[in-house]
C-alpha cells in the first residue's frame, strides 16, 4: 500500500514516466476492438443475409445471438482461456466479437427491412440484377441503421475489452488491474478514464464516417 499523501487519484509524473506503457495499452485496446468489430461485422453480415433470405431462420438466429449476449463476460473469457491459451489474441477476440452479433444483426436486418418495397420494385423495373439491387440500392438505404449498430457495438466493445484483462489481455483493463492490485490509483484512473475517452472518440469518428457514407441523410433529419 502506498502512503495516502503520495497516492492521489492521478499523479501526472507517473503518466509522463510510464507513457510508453500507456501507449502500448491504448494500441492493444484498439487492436482488440478493431479485430473484434471486423470479425463481428463479417459474421453478422452473413447471419443477417441468411435471416433475410430465409425468414424462418430469423427466430433461431435472434435467439442464439441474444443468448451469447447474455452470457457473463467473465465466464466467456474464462471459458476460452484453456482452449487457446491465456495470452492468445483469439481468446479475447472471439468473445468480444460474439457480444457484437446481437446488436449488429438486429440493426442490419432492421435496415434492410426498412427499405420500401416500392424502391425495390423500381430497382427491379430498371433492370438491376438482384445482386446489383442489394449492393447499390438496398445497402446504402440500410446504411444508417447498420452504422448505428456499428457505433453501439464499438462503444460497448471498448468497455468489454477492459474485462479481458482477467485473461491477461485487455489493453487499458490491464492498467486498471495493475493499479488495483497495488492500490495505486494513478494507473487505475488512467486506464478507466482512457477507456471511456477511447469509446467516445471512436463513437465520434464512426458518426463522421456514417455521415460521409450517407450524405443524403444530412438534408433530412437522420434516423
Amino acid at each position: 500500500m502506498i502512503a495516502e499523501a503520495r497516492n492521489p487519484i492521478i499523479r501526472w509524473e507517473w503518466v509522463v514516466d510510464e507513457w510508453d506503457q500507456i501507449r502500448a495499452a491504448i494500441t492493444e485496446h484498439l487492436t482488440l476492438t478493431v479485430l473484434a468489430m471486423l470479425l463481428g461485422i463479417v459474421v453478422s453480415a452473413v447471419l443477417a443475409a441468411v435471416a433475410l433470405r430465409f425468414r424462418w431462420t430469423m427466430t433461431p438466429i435472434t435467439a442464439t445471438t441474444s443468448l451469447i449476449y447474455t452470457l457473463p463476460s467473465v465466464a466467456l473469457f474464462a471459458l476460452l482461456a484453456p482452449v487457446f491459451g491465456n495470452l492468445a489474441l483469439t481468446t479475447a477476440v472471439i468473445p468480444l466479437a460474439g457480444y457484437t452479433l446481437l446488436i449488429l444483426v438486429t440493426n442490419t436486418v432492421a435496415g434492410f427491412q426498412a427499405v420500401p418495397k416500392s424502391v425495390r420494385d423500381a430497382a427491379d423495373g430498371m433492370g438491376l440484377t438482384p445482386t446489383r439491387r442489394v449492393l447499390s440500392v438496398e445497402l446504402p438505404l440500410a446504411m444508417p441503421y447498420i452504422m448505428t449498430g456499428v457505433r453501439i457495438a464499438t462503444v460497448s466493445t471498448v468497455g468489454l475489452v477492459t474485462v479481458a484483462a482477467i485473461i491477461g489481455q485487455g489493453g487499458l483493463g490491464r492498467l486498471i488491474f495493475n493499479g488495483l492490485s497495488r492500490a495505486f490509483w494513478t494507473p487505475m484512473t488512467v486506464g478507466a478514464g482512457l477507456s471511456i475517452i477511447l469509446a467516445l472518440t471512436l463513437d465520434a469518428i464512426l458518426l463522421g464516417i456514417a455521415a460521409l457514407v450517407t450524405p443524403w441523410t444530412r438534408r433530412k433529419a437522420a434516423t
Binding site: T70, P72, V74, G159, A165, I176, S181
Partner: protein, 247 residues
C-alpha cells in the same frame, strides 16, 4: 492472473486433478465461508438489490416522462449508451472514492456501476411501453369517469406492466451476467471461482464457476417468466405480447 486484493477469506487450494462433477458434488464445495451457498447468497443479494433499486428509480421516472410526452431526446440518447456502460471502468473509478470514505472496496463501487447498467434498459422499456398504450384506452378510461390523476397508474402503467417487466428481466439478466467482475474488484460472489481458478491455475474451478454463473443467469430469466405468470392478469400479458410483436 492472481487474486488482486486480499479478500476476507482465501479460497482453499482445490486439487488440480479433481473432476468437475467431483468438485460440484462435494459437500465441502457448498458449505463454509468460501462455499457455493455463501457465494451464491452474496451474488443474489447484490443483484436483487441493484434490480430493485433500479426499478424503483427508473420505472416511476420513465412513467412520468412518458405520461407527459417529454424526454424523447433523452430516450434516443439513452439508446446509444444503453449497451455501452463500461461497468468495469466505472467501478474501478469509484474505488478510490469509496476507500477514502472508509467504505472499502465493497460493495458501493460495484453496486453503483451495476445500477447504471440496469437503469437504462428499464427506463427505455418503460418509456416505450407507456407511449404505446393505445390512446383509445386512455380516452375510454376518462369517459368511464377515471380521474386524471388515476390515468398514469390505473391505465397506462397497468396496460404497460407486461412490457415493463420484460425490461426489468433484461436488466436483471445483464446484472447477473456482469456481477462476477466484482470478484476481480475486491469482492466475492460467484465470480470468485473463476478468479481463484485462474489464481490456482485450476481449470476445473474456472469451469465450475462458469457453470454456476451461467446457471444463475438462466434461472433469473426463468424466475421472471414465473413472476409474470403469477403477477399479471392474462389480459395484460396478452396485450404485452401484442405490443412486443409490434416493436
Amino acid at each position: 492472473m492472481r487474486a488482486l486484493i486480499p479478500t476476507a477469506v482465501e479460497q482453499q487450494a482445490v486439487p488440480r486433478d479433481i473432476g468437475l462433477f467431483e468438485w460440484l458434488f462435494d459437500a465441502d464445495t457448498w458449505t463454509g465461508p468460501t462455499g457455493i451457498l455463501t457465494s451464491l447468497w452474496d451474488t443474489v443479494v447484490m443483484c436483487t438489490a441493484v434490480t430493485i433499486v433500479a426499478t424503483l428509480v427508473a420505472v416511476p421516472a420513465a412513467a412520468v416522462m412518458a405520461h407527459l410526452r417529454k424526454g424523447e431526446v433523452s430516450t434516443t440518447w439513452a439508446v446509444s449508451i444503453s449497451r455501452a456502460i463500461p461497468t468495469f471502468a466505472i467501478a474501478a473509478l469509484l474505488i478510490p472514492w469509496s476507500l477514502r470514505r472508509g467504505w472499502g472496496f465493497e460493495p458501493w463501487p460495484i453496486f453503483i456501476a451495476l445500477l447504471l447498467l440496469a437503469l437504462v434498459p428499464i427506463y427505455l422499456t418503460t418509456y416505450n411501453a407507456i407511449r404505446q398504450v393505445p390512446q383509445e384506452s386512455i380516452d375510454a378510461a376518462r369517459a368511464l369517469g377515471y380521474r386524471e390523476s388515476a390515468v398514469p397508474g390505473a391505465v397506462e402503467f397497468a396496460l404497460a406492466a407486461s412490457v415493463i417487466l420484460t425490461g426489468v428481466r433484461v436488466a436483471a439478466i445483464q446484472v447477473v451476467a456482469t456481477e462476477p467482475i466484482r470478484a476481480f474488484l475486491g469482492g466475492d460472489g460467484l465470480g470468485r471461482y473463476v478468479r481463484d481458478g485462474f489464481g490456482q491455475n485450476n481449470n476445473t474451478l474456472v469451469l465450475g464457476g462458469i457453470i454456476l454463473i451461467g446457471g444463475l443467469a438462466a434461472l433469473t430469466g426463468l424466475a421472471f417468466v414465473l413472476l409474470e405468470r403469477l403477477a399479471l392478469p392474462n389480459g395484460v400479458r396478452r396485450l404485452g405480447r401484442q405490443q412486443g410483436e409490434n416493436t
